[in-house]
Structures are given as C-alpha cells and as structure tokens.
Amino acid sequence: MRKLVLILFLSVSIAGFSQYDSLNKLDEIVLYGNFSPEFNTGYTVEIITDTIINNEINSLGNFLQKNANLYFKQNGNGMVSSISLRGTSASHTGVFWNGIPVNSSLNGQTDFNTLPINSFDGIEIRKGGGSVLFGSGAIGGAINLSDKVLFQQKAKAMILLGGGSFKTFKSNIQGIVSNEKYFVKISLNAISSENDYPFKDTNLINENGQFKNYGIHSTLGWNFDDKNHIVLHTSFMNTDRNTSRTLTAASNSKLINKNNRFLFTWKNIGTQYISDLRLAYLSEEYNYYFDKDLLNSSQNRSQNLFSKYSFNYFFNKNISLNTGVDYTYSIGQGSNISNISQNDIEVYALLHHRVFSNLVYNVSARKGFSSNFEIPFIYAADLNFKISNNFKVKANYSTNYRTPTFNDLYWEPGGNPDLKSEKNSSAEIGVDFQNKNAKFDLTTFWIKSDNLIQWVPVTADFWQPKNVQKTSGYGLEFSIKYKKIIDDHNFQFQAQYAYTVSNDDSIDKQLIYVPYNKANSNVSYNYKRTYFNYNLQYTGKVFTTSSNSQSIEDYWLSNVEISQNFLKNDLKIGFRINNLFDENYQSVAYRPMPGRNFELNINYKID
C-alpha cells in the first residue's frame, strides 16, 4: 500500500524534482484542479508534498519562509503574519483551501500564523498573476492548501509532540483509515506558548505575547464508483492571541479568530472529461479586545456560501477545455459592519493546446458580475517551449483584479461603497533547466497595478478607502536545487533568491515592507536514520515610511535541525535551534523577534 502512495506522490515532486509529463493528465487535474501544472504551463507551480509537511510542526508562514523564500511581515512572533508576493500587498495573494478561496471577506487577507502546517497534506504555490483561474486577489500569486484523498487499504496514525523555548508546546494527532471505497482522516492540532522572549539589548520582554491555537480537521471520502468521488472536508480553527507589546508601547490587547469551513466535493471522472462540483460554507469571526481584562470587544464576522462547478473536456490528447462557474453569496455583520450581503457570479474558460510535443500554450478569460461593484473582464495566455529535454522556456501574460472587501466597502466609519475593483497586468518570462540531479530556474517578471484601494485621510480623524494608488514593479527570481545520493549518503542543496522592485508611482518610491533582496537556502544531509538540515534566510532592508526615509535593517537568520529515527523509522526525535546566531532582528519595526531558541520534537507513526 505504502508503495502506491509513494509512487503517486513522489513521482509528482519532492523538493521540486517533478516529472509532470509522466503523470497521467487526468490524474493530475483530479489531484490539483486549477493548480494543475497542465493549466499553468507557462508558470512556475511549486508542489510541496506531505512527506515534507508531515515532519513540520510550524505555522504555515514560518514553513513557507523556510522552504519557499516567500516574504512575510510578522507583527512579532506568532502574531498577525501577512504575505507580500512579488512586491504586492497582503490581499494580492490568493489563498485557497482545497481549491476554494479562503482569504478573509473582511480584509481580503490570510493571516499565515493562524494556519498550522500539518493539518494539510499538500501545498501548491503558483507565482504570478492568476485571476482568470483563481479569481479576485490572485495577483502576486496563489497558494493552495489541500487535503489529499486516496482510496486504498490503509490505516495510519501519527502523533507529533513538540516543546520549546518560552514555554511553547505543540501537538498534532492524525489518523487515517481508508480502503478502496472509503477514506477517513481526522487531525487535531494545538499549540500554546508563553512567548515571553527577551527583547535583546533592552530590559524588556515580549509581554502580552501569549497565544493558544487549536484546530480540528477532517476529511471523509466516498469512492462511489471509480468514476464518482464524494468528499467532505471540515475544518474548525480557533486562534487566541494576546497582541504583544512593542519596543515603545505596552499592550493589554487580545485577538481571537474563529474559522469554520465545510466543503463538499463531487468529482465525476470520465474517459474524456472531469466534472467537479464544490459547495462550501465558510465562516470567519474575530473579536478584538483593546483591554483583555474588560469585556468590551469589537467583533466582526462574515459567512460565505461558495459554489464552484468546473468541467474539463479533453477533445483529444492535445486539446482540452477547462471551464468553470463560481457563485458566492456572502454576508457580513458586526461592530463595524451593518448587516450586508453580496452576490457574485463569475465564469471562466481556458483552452489548453499542445501544438507540438515541445510547445504548449493556454489561453483563458474570465468575467464576473457582482451585486456591489463591477468586476472587470480579464484574460491571460501562457506558453511553455521545450528546447531540449532538460531545458524549457516559460512565459505568460495576464490581466487580474482584486475586488473591494467588506471592510473597504462598508467599514463604519469610512467604508466607501463606490469603490471599484483594483486592476493589474502581469507578465513573466523564465527559463528552466533540469537533469537527474539538479534543477535550476530563472524568472523575470513585470507587474503593474492601477485603481489600488488605499485608506487615505479625508480629515485627520476620518479616513476613507479610495481607488488612488498606482504601482509598478519588476523583479527576478532564481532558484537552484541539487541532490546527490552516494550509497546511504543523501545530500540536498537548494537556494532561492528574489530581487523585487515595487514602486508607488505617484511618489516614485519603493513600497513599504517590500525588501529588494530576499534569499533562502537549505542544505540537508541524510545518512541512514540520521538527518541534518541547515537553513539560512536573508531578508533585505525594508522601508517603513512611504518617503523611504526610515527602514528596518536587513538580517540573516540561521536555523539548524538534527533528527534521528528509531524503531524501524516509526519514531523520530528531532532537535532544532532557531536563530542559531542569536540575531537581533525585526520583521515589523519596533517589534523584535526571538533570539536563539530551542525545540524538541517527537514524531511517532503507527501504520
């Protein structure tokens, strides 16, 4: 049984050594939906599999920083963490859960510290404009978190326990029982931390930084017949954080986020088509306590009914059509939002065409209608040209959008119901080299956005969002992966570098919190049951004022991990040192991050 899983997953990609072409197209699309490399042939799709994720006991944000060279702005350790992909804002990365959009309806963003990494089985990262396939907000890129369902005889349990500095305790318990007909997976995770690390070179500590988060996730699958799969995904997450002090101000505030998600999927797989229906209910709620000792809080919440139907038809082995319709009904209410509702319907189509065995292109378009604003017509094209077996050229051009969020439209005070959608156009061209041991790619991109929504002062104490900002940017991304196996010695090296310019066109300055330079590397060595990893991250200087007059210093961060397997590899004990060189660094100004700290993890598997 194990072998089958391995074949399916390992053949797709481990640390990027992917062999997409060898995988059956249908299977790939069933597995990855719109994130399938098939529909994104001119883009880079990085697929991170459960073999990597299962050993992690970190937040999604920390994991992606370490493994994918993505930049996050963290309001202190464990606090709100937002992404900036290719120099775009936090609401310009589409975040998906099993193919359905989960960015907040309130602020359009995802807080990457609310998502525990090991409640998912796979992560797909697709950089570049993707609104045609992914809808609003997929401008810098899109990230999908997925539960994988495999109908095969299997029973497996896994317990992960971790403890670390600052009284941090983490746990994850997971069980999978499946056969050819049914699949059941349940996973529980919890993390708590005093998070009271000292601020280096001061006599302050990270007061009021405590957090305790937990989640329950389940996946139930039914292989009705081999042509019809029905899956029900549920996820409950509760994130309870005090919001930590800064260097200049104490805090007694608290933020509680609750997210409940249900998703029903029905896949009907024919010989020449895939029909895919998804119905989801998503609810999110947050409570912010300015003073956690008092009961006054501001609370806002939203609920979405989301449905998506997609139909893929394969005319022949070279031409296929991917069409879809998304319908969303959302409501919002709370302290700052009166009862409001919104209806959106969007349709898209993508034509996939393999012209020659070495030349593939996709053309696509989307149009949406909303009860509350206009959604622009957008289109995209991408191509992949294989020059030789090892060498590919990829290129794409897309137009994209982000629709205004509930906060933008209706926040009291200030919300502006007359807002328009933000518009973007993006292009990239890249080369890709791959052989048995090495993979290398180099991409350069251009990105231009208009009508960007920005909260601007109308009077000193009254701010309103307006479609005022224009930005333009470009950049370069480079990645290299190398692996070498000699007998029992397994050596892997990977490094990524990104250079990003993101310019506020009205003042001609780099946007705040966008580093020009960001790099990441991992060196790992595996001998029999022993594993060693050294991770080095570099985050360049970021500006903190729009005039670029003030900045946070750049920093290097080193993390080391060593682990040993026991009992036929069923037990794994790992030890980590984070921030090995005790660097005093900040992700957000005046919010110091932890110095050197330690973690001990125990991972026990029963098959």
Partner: protein
C-alpha cells in the same frame, strides 16, 4: 612660517579672550534649545516612536532631538507637549506616560506613569500642579479622568473622573476647563474643575465634538466644536461657543450643517480656525463668524497655531512619512517657509 604661527596663536588667544569676556558679561546659554520653538511629532501610528523637532531662532532645524540627547525613544504616539517652569512635559499617548525633561537641554528628568495615566491626551499646568486628560480604555465611556501631578516631585497626587473623551484643557481663574471631545465617540460638554477642591463644579453643554479651547484678553473662554461628522449618521453643525468665566453663560455662533471647523488658536485677540482646508480670522469682539477665509492659505492641516504674526500650520501629508510645518504671514496669507518635521506633526510649542 614663524610669522604665520605667531599670528595664528595670537588670533587664537584673542578669540579665547574675547569669548571669555563675553561669557562673563552674559548669562551662559541654558541649552541648545533655549530659543525658538518645538514641534511634537506623533510618529507612526502602530509601531514606532514619536519625535520632537526643534527650530532655532536662526531657523536651524534639528530633528529627533529627544533621542539625540537621551539616546532613547520617546514612545508611541507623542500626542502633545507643554512647557512649564524649567521643564517640558511630553505626553506619550500609547505608551501611557508623561516624560519630563529640561526644556532648554531636552535632558530627561523622569517619567510619570502608572495607574494614574491611561491613554493621556493633553497637559496644562499652574501653581506647581500639572493636569493631564486621559481617555482610559477608549471603548469604555465611563473610565475617563484627569490626572493631577505635583510638579515639584513629579508624582501623581490625585485623579478626577470626567465624562467621555477629555481632550484639550485650559486653566483660568483657578478653574480647569476640560473639553469633552468624546474620544472614539462624540461628546458635547465642557467640564469645569475647581482646582481648590479638585472636583467638577459644573458641566456645560456646548456644541458637539468640542475640539479646541482658548481664552481671550477679556477673560472669556472660546470653545470650538466641530459638530458630529457626516459618517456618524447624525451629522450636526459646528459651533463656536463663548463661555463667560464669571457666570458660565454660554453663547453660540453657528456654522452651517456640513461645516466642521477645527484647531482654534488665538493671537492678539483674534481667533483663527481651520475649515475645509481654509483658515479664517475673527476678532474676539465680533458678533458673527467671518464670511471669507484668509486669502492664500490652503491646505490639509493637522494643527494650527497663530503667533508672532505668523500662522504655524502642520501638514501630516500621507501620515506614513515625514510631515511639514508651513509658516504663513497672518495678514497677507503668503507662505513664508516650509520646514520638514517628523512623522505626524502635531503641536507647535514656543519657548
């Protein structure tokens, strides 16, 4: 060569001698910031520190002077500063403290904080007593108060409860007039605290959102009320209220419904305020509001202060980078000078 050396040493000697004799005749300078004026800059809203800008008599601008002198940050949101005696009292809102420093050297003396300071806003002083308006928890309308500080010992003596959102204050005839602007809400009162007993002796209803307060030469108190803004859904007009300090009778001059004036300042018995990006001048004796603004002054101002025939108007620009102070000639409206400040320039305080 030799001649040059001799001349040089003679010159140095003379210079030394001259400066010595000058020192003997004049007072020693009390500090680098003895003359000129200060601008308190709130600093970035979420994470960071406010700063103080100093502009010398010679026009020399020094940024971030508190940190330069003391090598520490002031704290988050420097809301206000006031001079009293030899000291400067710097109100740091989100760090919940008052920093006391020497007003001439900016050298820190102490910090006043603790339970008696919570979300401090403004500071006024008289007779060795300092008074600080505090919001408490901005979501709680019932925990707002005034802190009373002994300025000799820099200790908190007492607190006096007031209504929601105490802001700007004024002391006249041993009475403390407190604008209840409303904090995160909107209030419409002025509370009078008798400083002999430290109790609220009277609560006057003025217009909605009293945002600034000054006194004229005759001893009347003027309170500018912005009115409730449109976004509240209960828009009300601005009002200029005149409070007689003898009998506490309030008279009003009404603005139009959609007019929300702010930043009242007084100079030579003329009142100045900002309305829709224009600055208006009104004689304190006048019985009606002025019809037309001062020609030439336009802008989105963050604070106003009229002094020495000049209007000092701060501009917070985009609130995310350095602001500016614009100096206008009060009679002609001509822009005299623009000075770069720190982030979010608020109060302008003269030595």
């Amino acid at each position: 060569m030799n001649l040059l050396k001799i001349t040089a040493s003679l010159f140095t000697f003379l210079l030394f001698f001259a400066s010595c004799s000058e020192d003997d005749q004049l007072d020693l300078p009390k500090g680098n910031y003895e003359k000129g004026y200060f601008i308190s800059n709130e600093g970035p809203f979420n994470n960071g520190s406010g700063t103080i800008t100093h502009v010398g008599e010679d026009g020399v601008v020094s940024q971030n002077i508190y940190k330069t002198v003391n090598n520490e940050d002031l704290g988050n949101i420097v809301q206000f500063m006031a001079l009293e005696g030899e000291n400067v009292y710097i109100v740091v809102n989100n760090s919940h403290k008052i920093i006391v420093a020497n007003r001439f050297t900016m050298k820190k003396i102490t910090t006043i904080s603790g339970n008696g300071i919570n979300n401090p806003r403004y500071f006024v002083a008289e007779n060795d007593r300092g008074y600080v308006s505090n919001w408490g928890d901005p979501l709680n309308p019932n925990d707002d108060f005034i802190t009373i500080i002994n300025l000799r010992t820099n200790e908190i003596i007492d607190t006096v409860s007031v209504g929601e959102g105490p802001e700007d204050m004024l002391i006249i005839n041993n009475n403390l007039y407190v604008n209840l602007q409303g904090g995160w809400n909107q209030n419409n009162k002025v509370e009078i605290i008798e400083l002999q007993f430290n109790t609220v002796s009277k609560t006057l209803i003025v217009g909605d959102v009293p945002n600034s307060i000054v006194a004229d030469n005759k001893g009347d108190v003027w309170v500018l009320c912005g009115g409730k803004p449109n976004w509240t859904g209960f828009e009300s007009n601005g009002k200029l209220a005149k409070i007689s300090t003898s009998n506490h009778i309030v008279e009003f001059l009404d603005f139009d419904l959609h007019e929300h004036p702010e930043y009242l300042s007084i100079y030579l018995d003329n009142l100045y305020y900002n309305l829709n990006g224009k600055v208006y001048e009104m004689a304190a004796q006048s019985s009606s509001l002025p019809n037309s603004p001062i020609e030439g002054i336009n802008g989105f101002f963050y604070s106003l202060k009229a002094n020495n025939g000049i209007l000092y108007a701060t501009d917070a620009k985009d609130f995310q980078s350095e602001g500016a102070l614009n100096l206008y000639n009060l009679s002609s409206g001509a822009l005299l000078e623009t000075i770069e400040t720190g982030i979010l320039p608020g109060a302008v305080i003269f030595q």
